[in-house]
């Protein structure tokens, strides 16, 4: 068993810097910023803004994965909550819209959590149910159409709105990150999640309420997905039940893995999962800027992911002991 402390994260930060530098090489204006109407614009801001949904998903996903689980339903939950928000936006006030959409996300998480914790269904199967059914539910809500809205309140939560000069989704993501960190590291929940993911039987025998924490973690993932769904809907002033959040669960899982959290559970880092999400988005943006056909995106992404994962592998680091001095530091 690999014993490592992913919290230090040298290899992830190095990878992010490398990707950003590569972007700068293909597009010399990459690091340019300019301020218009009290708002910052630039490619880096663009990466943060576009990366917000996956970053939000990865915040919830990292906790689920740390518990030895996985949540395949987050993309579908995005679609459901986006559909709810878009349908209500023009007829209700923003607090009602948000409460309905976020509440739906929590409910979806509760469902997943109960299937896993109480019925003991394998997480990959349990969340697959909602992954498949969720998109159907979203289509029922939108009645099979693309629902559009014009409410400026909800639109403010998308990329067109800004808080303190930054796009609202970026602020929401950092807010969610800070809140999550406060909850898991400010209390003993983080320790309990790591203990349960590392050894569920031992943790239950040590008196940890593993089932309750399991349910709570899936609910948090549902909440993060709901927020991502609201942002996605606000971005396009509408909800597309077929395509909102499509395949984003895979990007979120990838972000968590790039962030150094093992799929076998245990040690996790929320910050590095978000860094992982930004690495993925920075690559997407870089390929767009470079003028390469977007089809190459997937291949380049695969290569970079492979490189990051290899850099994290203790076995590979052993073979390149000299080269891996920097990387080794992240594993103490």
């Amino acid at each position: 068993m690999a014993l490592r402390l992913p919290r230090i994260g040298t290899s992830q930060v190095a990878a992010l810097i490398l990707v950003l530098l590569a972007n700068w090489m293909v597009s010399p204006q990459f690091f340019d910023f300019h301020i218009r109407d009290g708002r910052v614009f630039g490619s880096v801001i663009d990466v943060l803004n576009r990366g917000a949904p996956v970053a939000l998903l990865s915040i919830g996903m990292v906790l689920v994965i740390a518990m030895r689980g996985i949540d395949l339903s987050v993309g579908a939950v995005m679609a459901i909550c986006g559909a709810i928000a878009a349908s209500l936006a023009d007829s209700h006030t923003l607090p009602v819209v948000l409460a309905a959409a976020l509440g739906a996300g929590l409910l979806c998480g509760l469902w997943n959590g109960l299937l896993v914790a109480v019925l003991g269904i394998q997480p990959i199967v349990a969340t697959l149910i909602l992954m498949v059914a969720g998109r159907g539910i979203a289509q029922l809500i939108t009645e099979g159409r693309i629902v559009t809205f014009s409410s400026p309140d909800l639109a403010f939560l998308g990329g067109s709105g800004s808080v303190l000069g930054l796009p609202t989704p970026v602020v929401l993501t950092f807010g969610m990150l800070a809140l999550t960190l406060l909850i898991v590291r400010g209390t003993a929940l983080g320790l309990m999640i790591e203990a349960t993911g590392g050894n569920p039987r031992a943790s239950a025998l040590a008196g940890i309420g593993t089932k309750l924490i399991t349910v709570a973690v899936y609910m948090w993932s549902g909440l993060c997905a709901a927020l991502a769904g609201i942002v996605a809907a606000a971005d396009i002033l509408g909800a597309d039940a077929n395509n909102a959040g499509l395949w984003l669960e895979l990007d979120a899982i990838l972000a968590v893995v790039i962030g150094g959290t093992s799929l076998f559970g245990g040690r996790f880092s929320v910050v590095l999962a978000v860094v992982g999400a930004l690495i993925i988005q920075a690559m997407n943006t870089g390929i767009l800027l470079s003028g390469f056909p977007p089809e190459t995106n997937l291949v380049v992404k695969a290569v970079v992911v492979l490189a990051v994962l290899l850099a994290q592998s203790p076995r590979v680091a052993g073979h390149f002991a000299g080269l891996g001095v920097l990387l080794n530091r992240s594993r103490s």
């Binding site: 209390t187 320790l191 590392g198 050894n199 031992a202 025998l205 040590a206 940890i208």
Partner: protein
């Protein structure tokens, strides 16, 4: 040479194997004769599985020679061992349950013509092969449709058909009922008559006496003895399995105090669970140690898991401080002031990835609830205190526990529960798999805790050890409490007698 002339088939000399400093096998000798059924016995951690793995090449031995029919061999994998004629059938049958019986028998060596499998021919051969074992079943049906006993026989038939000269059966009877065991024994006797040597691992002593010719006992990685069945009465066998020489200092014990003097912490009456452990009465008192003795699978671990709520009792009552309580979960037990160090340290005890500090604070933190985190400074002080108190090495609070030795992991586990200041501490095999130094320290600690007024419930296979600290010993057999020894009755011969007594004969010690 007649196949059953009793000449030596396999000869192992000086087998040794250590894992990360822990000696699992220490210069073990073993011989197997043609046409012999040879029982390999020992408690958990005695080295049985390591010996089997070393002789089948699954793990590489550190030292020792191995001769099969006089020729020196050194198999490096299970496949190589099979080719040499050493076949192993494990408790969990290693076959494909979804394939037909015939396919399982001939997987990887199917009769073919022009590259195509000859299904008919394969079925005919399968029928013929199983008929030799007195089995007439539909070989086209999937293996999983048959009982575990038949699956075992299929596995044995496959092994024997691959020209096995010796067969290792690793606890084949653990999940079989009496009739199925008899069917399996019939097959074993047939193989014996054909001159095949059989190594039979089990923890059912009745079965050993029913079918085996010789017995080899391992204890703590060493050879405790080999003897023909007739020369080893049951009580000597149990002594051989459970005995242990203690150092003089450890062996001395302080005088026992009278039981009635101390207030009961917890009283269990008629407490039990159907099919798990028969209802028992148990009283645990402050400042007293109750030991649970018995062979592997006798119900010791089951008893403590019921007491701690890791399994729910379905009958009887429990009282703590005179108040009736329902112990429905480990959390509930913990709230009542119980602590439990399980036998399976790796899977149920420590969290290997977490640090020494995190492992130590885990139970206390769980007791406080997630919303009241222990301040880091308190965590550090507590960890430093226990590292000093229990002499945990290396004394690094931020080292992942998985990197510590078994003895130190055990100490971390003890520290985890001591941090919750329990009134009743349950220790399941606290000294298993740890080195001699740590062993004496843990026994010393048990006595100290007891002197401070903690109630202790200790499971141990080490009888010499248990009598040095227990005020009362409960003996278990076949998942039932069969005898209780208190005060001066607590000594090794009395415990041995109670363990070895036939279920039919009255127990030597006071029956319960």
């Amino acid at each position: 040479m007649h196949p059953t002339d009793g000449s030596t088939l396999l000869e192992l000399t000086g087998f040794s194997k250590s894992f990360a400093g822990f000696v699992a096998l220490d210069k073990v000798d073993f011989t197997l004769r043609r046409g012999e059924i040879h029982a390999l016995l020992g408690e958990n951690g005695a080295g049985k599985s390591t010996l089997i793995k070393a002789m089948t090449g699954v793990v590489a031995r550190d030292a020792g020679t191995m001769r099969l029919e006089g020729a020196e061999i050194a198999p490096r994998s299970a496949g190589e061992a099979t080719r040499l004629g050493i076949a192993t059938v494990y408790q969990e049958v290693n076959l494909a349950p979804n394939l037909s019986v015939a396919k399982n028998l001939f997987l990887g060596r199917q009769p073919t013509r022009f590259g195509f499998v000859r299904e008919g021919e394969m079925r005919r051969r399968a029928d013929a092969l199983l008929a030799e074992f007195g089995l007439s079943i539909d070989v086209a049906a999937p293996l999983e449709t048959y009982s575990v006993a038949i699956q075992h026989i299929v596995a044995i038939a496959r092994a024997v058909d691959q020209s096995a000269r010796m067969l290792i059966l690793d606890e084949p009877t653990a999940s079989l009922d009496a009739h199925e065991v008899e069917v399996l024994f019939t097959v074993m006797r047939q193989l014996k008559a054909r001159g095949i040597g059989i190594v039979f691992v089990t923890h059912f002593l009745d079965q050993v006496y029913a079918i085996c010719d010789r017995i080899t006992v391992l204890r703590n990685g060493r050879l405790a003895g080999t003897a023909p069945i007739a020369e080893l009465p049951r009580i000597d066998l149990v002594r051989m399995m459970l005995g242990r020489e203690l150092s003089a200092a450890t062996a001395q014990r302080p005088p026992r105090t009278a039981l009635a003097e101390a207030a009961p912490v917890a009283v269990f009456e008629d407490f039990g669970k159907t099919g798990y452990v028969a209802p028992f009465d148990l009283t645990l008192r402050a400042g007293h140690v109750v030991g649970l003795a018995g062979l592997l699978g006798s119900g010791r671990t089951e008893t403590v898991r019921l007491v701690f709520g890791a399994e729910r009792a379905d009958c009887g009552s429990a009282e703590v401080d005179g108040r009736r309580v329902a112990i429905s979960s480990p959390r509930e037990a913990m709230r009542l002031g119980f602590g439990y160090c399980p036998e399976e340290r790796k899977t149920e005890g420590v969290v290997a990835d977490l640090t020494v500090r995190e492992n130590i604070v885990l139970a206390l933190q769980a007791k406080r609830g997630p919303m009241k985190p222990l301040p880091r400074r308190e965590q550090d002080e507590m960890t430093a205190k226990f590292i000093r108190l229990l002499d945990i090495r290396p004394p690094d609070p931020e080292r992942p526990v998985g990197l510590l030795s078994g003895g130190n992991q055990q100490k971390v586990l003890l520290a985890r529960w001591l941090a919750t200041a329990p009134r009743l501490l349950i220790l399941d095999e606290p000294t298993r798999g740890i080195d001699v130094g740590a062993h004496a320290e843990i026994i010393g600690l048990i006595r100290d805790l007891c002197a401070e007024g903690m109630a202790l419930l200790v499971v141990s296979s080490e009888l010499e050890e248990i009598v040095t600290y227990a005020d009362e010993v409960v003996v278990l057999r076949d998942r039932a409490h069969v005898a209780r020894l208190t005060g001066d009755e607590v000594d090794v011969p009395a415990i041995l007698a109670a363990i070895a007594a036939d279920a039919s004969a009255p127990a030597a010690a006071a029956p319960m």
